[in-house]
Symmetry: C2
Subunit: 433 residues, 2 copies
Amino acid sequence: MKKEGMAEPQREPSRNSPDNKEPTRSSKGIALDRRKFLTAAASLVGMAAAQAVIPSLHAEAPSSPPVPDDPTRVPGAPPTPYGQRAGFEQATRLPGTSHSLTPLQTLHGIVTPAALHFERHHNGVPTIDPARHRLLIHGLVGRSRTFTMDDLKRFPAVSRLAFIECAGNSAGEWREARGQTAQQTHGLTSTSEWTGVALATVLREVGLKLEATWMLAEGSDAAAMTRSIPLAPVMDEALLCYAQNGEALRPEQGYPLRLLLPGWEGNACIKWLRRLKLGNAPFMTREETSHYTDLMPNGIARQFTFVMEAKSVITAPSGGQQLRAGFVEIRGLAWSGRGRVTKVEVSTDGGRIWRGARLQEPVLPKCHTRFRFPWQWKGREAILMSRCTDETGYMQPSREDLIAVRGFNSVYHYNAIQSWKVARDGSVSNDQV
Amino acid sequence: MKKEGMAEPQREPSRNSPDNKEPTRSSKGIALDRRKFLTAAASLVGMAAAQAVIPSLHAEAPSSPPVPDDPTRVPGAPPTPYGQRAGFEQATRLPGTSHSLTPLQTLHGIVTPAALHFERHHNGVPTIDPARHRLLIHGLVGRSRTFTMDDLKRFPAVSRLAFIECAGNSAGEWREARGQTAQQTHGLTSTSEWTGVALATVLREVGLKLEATWMLAEGSDAAAMTRSIPLAPVMDEALLCYAQNGEALRPEQGYPLRLLLPGWEGNACIKWLRRLKLGNAPFMTREETSHYTDLMPNGIARQFTFVMEAKSVITAPSGGQQLRAGFVEIRGLAWSGRGRVTKVEVSTDGGRIWRGARLQEPVLPKCHTRFRFPWQWKGREAILMSRCTDETGYMQPSREDLIAVRGFNSVYHYNAIQSWKVARDGSVSNDQV
């Protein structure tokens, strides 16, 4: 870190600071009359107005906005109805053809901004008018019903923070260390505060029959995505969600309505939800026969493996980043579809010594948990790893242990310990141990 | 709510549902070949492509995007690097000349989306290049230092959810029921997950002197906003924040760096923070002499009244909304700058009978807490109120009790119980009791 010295571009103290000893500008000299500015701002738009009075502007990187030499000498932009992030911030999801990955390595805390929540859709993001959207509930119920969005919002609501992880997150890591960054290896998981009505509340309303044990959930996207959901394990927590991080669901996350099954794989949390059919057996859709099964070494495919087991990843330092010698806070995320994370351990020597990381409060069930671990990097090669234990006592497996059980045939539910290799030059890369 | 019947525009079940009994389309007839779509999507942009193949489109309200009759028959939009909300969602901050109000009545849960976090600035929102931004710490310290943003991000980080409320929130309510909506009466409070370095960590680094008891914090906006902060009460919790809800601070909330003093009035949480000067007395800036004091009935102004006391507001039903007879979940927010909310009570009869509301977990200190209260509205006139008690035992005062102590001279720190009047026609309006 730098020693001593004043800040370069903004070196002058405020003109209205009572402790301003420097004989610089008078309050008159700068002519930033607040009333005049507000009047001007009212008739002009944003920085376009402000920039007109700036004597000199820096044009930095091509994507950066023009910046005044001294922001205290230039009236700022007026309030706006709906804010945007700073032009300097360029972190994005990494889009594929039918998914996009959250940039975990750039994020802080546990909340994923909705704009950066990962995506996975099977035939694109539909455009749905919420006023015309309906949810049909039928099958083994006392009376079939359709619900408007207004109907659903009138029920008692529930909010909770929860992660959603795609079953295929880290699928590229089965055979080789393929992902170059944490975004590429682990970017199909995100956390939001979700709000909706409890599935149990709505099923009570339609008179769920005693013999109903499974439910078909269907989306109104162009894939008409469908999954069979066993009722017993989800009745306590399943939500029909219409809001995410305070505002309406984003289109990519199922606007206007999605199913949330906390801790279960993302594809079962049907988005753009339009239909629930109650039955007494699984419906065997293509998504649970040709897809979303786990092929074991003996050729048998495990079906309906919904729960996302405990997993963690160090997001900084992580692949593609560059380390400087000295103090480094190792930061990452841990989560478990079985409940709360109770322990995260970090190793900086490829798994020989493990020490407990600090868990950032709040630690919530079925939610990303931020962990932090202080480290001094002395310029030597290192292998960084994290492993998570959840409230059931289950510990995230090593790659070796996972493959011993699962083999190499699987696509989904890869939750092995991730290793990042720090080279002597400080570069960090994916390196399976 | 509607009885029975299938959904109108999307009445046909999925073609690939195994329980599809209707003799409708064959999988061939719709010709939604996934591979073809993905290839097409790669060379076209979003719905522009998808719309070209839609036989008929509804153009709804002028602001709504075109919507296919049946979204399952139209390939959806491809993934995007940075998501936007649905075109149907139009909730906005309500901008004044130097502030904008959060639309509390449209929000869910406790997290405020960054785009809708209230604003308050004293000479506009500056544009600051984070690579050139510096924080100077000087005065009663062992060695003055400037820190780059990279320097600050290398320190151990802390994340927490916390509300920030403007001292002037609800200021219009002192003399009359002026605000027509919850946004107008209470929209200067918002909650985010903030991440940064603890003030205590950075002050340890510069060698805080024993005699230092106050700190001047200065922003690099065009008002060079400055406040004096007593150190003792903030050392445990104050943060120098660079992130909000996972991503970088938004420009309106102090990008690239702001002070967060959990539970204290927003103006003291200096945004665009560029300087901390340590001293042994308050610095008496204009913001604590001409502004941000509380003028009492006896003509004496209380100074340095930083803490935002316990407060709550019913956000639904609230002013400007329209009620329908039957079940209504009364929903609102409660918060206290002193710690956790321990109880929220709701009255539907103007304060004669109070009953406990359910607090939505997680209930976090110095953070918005969502409360819910089930109610049957039978079409009669009603006065809805909420009152909050915090972990210190302090209970939010009635308007009468607040004014008995504070009189009518004050601008800041109005935290009286808010009343909403429900008329027989279901219209809801601000009505002081």
